[in-house]
Amino acid sequence: MPGRAQLLGVAVGVVALALVPVLAPPFYANLLVPFFAYAIALLGFNLLFGYTGLLSFGHAMYLGLGAYSAAIVAGVLGIRQFELVLVAAALAASLLALPIGFLCVRYTGIFFGMLTLAFGMLAHSFLFKFYHLTGGDSGMRVPRTRILGLPFDAYNKIELLAGPFYYYCLALLVVAGFTLWRIVHSPFGLHLRSLRDNPQKAEYLGVRVRQFRLAAYIISAAYGGIGGAILGFRIGLADPELVHWTHSGHLVFMTVLGGFNSFFGPIIGALALTLLQDQLQSITQYWRFVLGAMLAAIVIFFPRGLAGIATDFARLYKAPKQPQVAQ
């Protein structure tokens, strides 16, 4: 189970996040709702990347699917219950991930990346071109829904997002995080990490490499779908750009920024990028350049991301352990 330091960190983080709507203007709570969406999606993404070793450049497809599921369930079908939207999003993402993952996990490395990128762009062009079905580049509306069965009629959209929905998402993140923690620290998680490190040896130890990669892929897709549903609700719209390969690139960016070798890294990365992007956009119109330069710096100098920097820092304050013997 998590160490004391980690539990403390989580507690502090949750409390700090819970205080934002209370202490800061609604703008900030509103800004952080996408953070929750991305944090959940990235927890799943990193199961695939950091823990299983597969880098997908098409993962945004599942976020998009989550948003479109929200649009269909709440909009087209008129089922205005967010819990059902979430279930539909997770289910839709998992169902799509099954055949696509099945095809993709036969490969690793660059071929896996290219296949996932191709599927992602296939989804993008489908959403774009078949505008009779999908609304094309105007997208599909995601109407307001009830949360926990309550309509919150007294709140306008902003108040809802900065208030009840904010806490709802915080709770979702905690639940999603707890679930993923259990998965990662289970026998299943151990087998994932073993096949990441050495798939050949893992097979000789009886690890069903392909099946497990597929399982990780599906779980990561489900998390992506849930994140996408939150995004769709927040923006009020599901649109094809959610599915573009550059959006997938941003998912990878956030994960690497936060640190993909760490459980909390992706969450830190999502927070950092959400806040950073907002700040940058108000300072300069060339924020993409700054972000690009940051990503380059991370890749070259800080490959373990913010979490890595934090751990290194913490290590400076701890007593040095027994040096490892290496020959």
Binding site: F57, G109, G113, M114, F130, W245, T246, G249, F289, P303
Partner: protein, 293 residues
């Protein structure tokens, strides 16, 4: 019928430009094993600069008939960004491929704003200077001579690259390094120089492709992002690391796009992705590539 022929020729023109960029990608991947997501950015850079240079030249009285040479020069000049970028990429050579991919993605982001900064957010295009080359007519069907010149240039480039790789010593060095870097190093090949020159050549092909395309299409910020996908489709279908693959793949992608625009527009780009996926699943080595692990 003539409409069909025009479409096909349009497709071949597009294929010619695609080939140039894809050939650059293939070289870089074949020798350095790097997947360069910024190839689209080089393409856009060549396009924008091509327009600027042509406009500047025309303004100073240079005759419009020098359009093609000017564009070629524009492409060559922009290739100068290659060496410094390669220097940057050097810091991640030994590392996991994910990092290399991410660094080139970082470059894409940075380039987007560099292009925006220099040339603004609106698409740019040339006027009708290209008409100075006239058109070729054959009964009902016409093709701008410029397009034919570019197709010829691409074929010439293909031939030159092929000759270079097969007949010259340096070309053989490149192929050796592509085949087995460690071995090449052990045999005294200066891999660093090889990598630098290959990347520069790859960049050159990208910027040249972009410069050559501007008489017929606008330069836009989107170009950099969208072109990457097509270039990758070519590389996957043709086979990673293969020049012949770049040629055949470019032709296929160019023609499919052109034809589907006519037959079933909604299908246009979908068709290409489907073929990419099918290739990756059924024959991952592509048409000409070596099998990947």
């Amino acid at each position: 019928m003539t409409a069909f022929a025009n479409v096909v020729l349009g497709g071949i023109f597009h294929a010619a430009v695609l080939f140039l960029v894809a050939a650059g990608l293939q070289l870089v991947f074949g020798v350095q094993k790097i997947v360069n997501l910024a190839c689209g950015s080089f393409y856009a850079l060549g396009a924008y600069f091509g327009i600027s240079l042509v406009n500047a030249a025309l303004h100073t009285g240079v005759p419009a008939v020098l359009l093609l040479p000017i564009l070629i020069i524009a492409g060559l000049l922009m290739a100068l960004v290659g060496p410094p970028i390669e220097r940057l990429l050097r810091s991640v050579y030994g590392r996991d491929e994910s990092f290399q991919l991410l660094l080139t993605f970082a470059l894409v982001l940075m380039f987007q704003d560099v292009l925006r900064f220099i040339w603004g957010a609106n698409p740019q295009s040339l006027g009708s200077e290209v008409l100075v080359y006239g058109k070729l007519s054959w009964g009902d069907f016409t093709v701008p001579i410029y397009n034919l010149l570019v197709i010829a240039a691409a074929l010439a480039a293909a031939g030159l690259i092929g000759l270079f790789l097969r007949r010259t010593t340096y070309g053989r060095l490149l192929r050796a390094t592509a085949e087995n870097r460690a071995m090449a190093e052990a045999l005294g090949v200066n891999v660093r120089t090889v990598y630098a020159s290959v990347f520069s050549l790859g960049t050159l092909l990208g910027t040249l492709g972009g410069a050559l395309v501007v008489p017929t299409s606008a330069a836009s910020l989107d170009m950099a992002i969208e072109f990457v996908i097509e270039a990758f489709a070519v590389v996957v279908i043709g086979g990673l690391g293969s020049m012949a693959g770049a040629l055949v793949g470019a032709l296929l992608v160019g023609l499919i796009r052109a034809l589907s625009l006519v037959v079933y527009p909604e299908f246009e780009i979908l068709a290409i992705y489907l073929i990419v996926i099918a290739t990756l699943l059924l024959r991952p080595a592509g048409l000409f590539g070596k099998a990947a692990s």
